[in-house]
């Protein structure tokens, strides 16, 4: 496999990064029988650092066979080649971020998948729309003066927002990191798919949070939201830290705070848009002198009589 040897040090950025971190590893290359397009897999057997053998599947090997076009299924097949246990392991890894453990290095192990991000985003959009409607239904059960009509457009809005966030923000982040690549010598930036992947998995914690937002206790909602945001943003920060710590302080802190801020904006935007009765509480205390507690999520009386 002389061709594979030539490839091994030119194109496999991820492999060289792993190698640079654990210098006493051996690399062997073999063709994986599961990759019929002739992609070459480099297996990194590590002496100490990462334990089990890893496989690096590169989608840049054009030397062996012409690469299938992006409109065919086989182009994307390598990104869906995951087991249930791997997906569950990645989800667990995103729920419990640990300082010093980058999600990409420890859980993705250079095999980003699109299954997780795609279905997490789909679930999140679906759950947002359903719970957004359910809060109004539940409020109607408690107080029949609230009018409920199924709002299907919320599904569309949720879907578009979540998917745009999950694709455009990693794109911007990746582009920015690529631009700053020159500053770093030791470690290359993550590929675009890895960025999309860890962003997608980081959104997982919002799914149970959104379900818990059905409980109409405001301080509890804010507590859950803050907790979810903290865990998710921590995961993102710990993943990005090895990349940005070699950059200047200013750029690093700006980048990390931008990431956290965007995440917070997403969380708050979802809370305000899909659990919409919140604006009603701003109108009520100004116009009514009843004993309405200003933090009640749903006002018992509709604001309309106030304007007449």
């Amino acid at each position: 496999m002389a061709a594979a040897d030539e490839l091994a040090f030119h194109e496999f950025e991820e492999a060289t990064n792993l190698l640079s971190e654990t210098p006493d590893v051996t690399t062997i290359s073999r063709s994986d029988p599961r990759t019929p397009e002739g992609q070459v897999a480099v297996a990194v057997g590590s002496g100490g650092g990462y334990g089990a053998e890893d496989e690096v599947e590169s989608d840049k090997t054009a030397e062996q066979q012409p690469q299938p076009g992006f409109w065919t299924f086989s182009y994307y097949q390598s990104f869906f080649d995951v087991d249930t246990s791997q997906v569950l392991d990645r989800i667990k890894g995103s729920l419990l971020p640990r300082p010093g453990h980058s999600f990409v290095r420890h859980h993705l192990r250079n095999r980003p998948d699109l299954y997780g991000p795609f279905w997490i985003c789909a679930t999140l959009a679906f759950v947002l729309a359903v719970t957004g409607n359910l809060t109004v239904v539940l409020a109607q059960r408690r107080d029949s003066s609230i009018h409920y009509s199924p709002q299907f457009h919320k599904v569309t809005v949720a879907g578009i927002t979540i998917y745009c966030y999950a694709w455009l923000v990693p794109l911007a982040l990746w582009a920015f990191l690529q631009w700053r690549k020159g500053v770093r010598e030791r470690m290359g930036p993550y590929t675009f798919l890895e960025t999309v992947c860890f962003y997608g998995y980081s959104l997982f914690i919002f799914i149970p949070t959104v379900v818990l937002w059905l409980i109409p206790v405001p301080w509890l909602q804010w507590l859950f939201g803050a907790l979810a945001l903290a865990l998710s943003a921590a995961g993102l920060v710990f993943t990005l830290w090895p990349i940005v710590r070699e950059d200047t302080r200013l750029v690093a802190s700006m980048l990390l705070s931008a990431v956290v801020l965007l995440h917070a904006l997403l969380a708050m935007g979802c809370k305000f848009y899909f659990f919409q009765p919140l604006p009603l509480e701003h109108m009520a205390p100004a116009h009514q002198d009843t004993s309405l507690h200003p933090n009640v999520v749903l006002t018992p009386t509709p604001p309309r009589p106030m304007t007449s």
């Binding site: 299924f73 994307y76 097949q77 869906f80 995951v82 087991d83 249930t84 246990s85 299954y115 279905w119």
Partner: protein
């Protein structure tokens, strides 16, 4: 059973296979035989779709358009996913066939909706059970037919979302 042999040849409908597939769906915990999907037949699925529409009609909901629309789009989505995740491809007819067969528990749910309203705790729990039942059967058949080890939950989850949409139609 020479009598049954003739209609099989003429109509192309293999009653034995249909019955076998129905039994496979009704018992989600029994491992499926991978070869039953070798011939795609749409007779069973179309029958179940019509039955679903009919029972929904009896319950007062005229939603044939949604059923057919969601079935088509859902089948397309699952077809794309299975082609991405399996090493061997799968045809659209096969996907439609399996998903249609696994719609049978949903028909049971919607016939229940004719007699009592499902909007309550019992209805929700029943709907969830049916969704899990449908998706486990569908993923079990797909796994055995396409030889995808260790990915049953990954297939079951999108199927559960699809059947969840059907359940929403049935319950609300």
């Amino acid at each position: 059973m020479f009598v049954w042999g003739e209609p099989e040849g003429e109509l192309g409908i293999n009653f034995d296979h249909i019955w076998q597939k129905t039994l496979t769906v009704l018992n989600p915990l029994k491992p499926a035989d991978g070869s039953i999907m070798n011939e795609t037949d749409l007779a069973g699925p179309i029958l179940f779709c019509v039955a679903l529409g009919a029972t929904l009609l009896l319950a007062g909901k005229v939603q044939f358009g949604y059923i057919y629309g969601m079935s088509a789009i859902g089948c397309l989505g699952i077809y794309a996913l299975l082609n991405l995740m399996s090493s061997s491809g799968v045809s659209y007819g096969c996907v439609a066939s399996v998903l249609g067969y696994c719609l049978l528990p949903m028909v049971i749910l919607s016939s229940g909706a004719v007699f009592f309203s499902l909007q309550g705790t019992i209805g929700t729990v029943l709907a969830l059970v049916i969704i899990v039942w449908c998706s486990l059967s569908a993923s079990k058949i797909f796994i055995s037919a396409l030889d995808m080890e260790g990915q049953q939950l990954l297939i079951a989850y999108p199927c559960a979302l699809l059947y969840g949409l059907f359940a929403l139609l049935t319950v609300f």
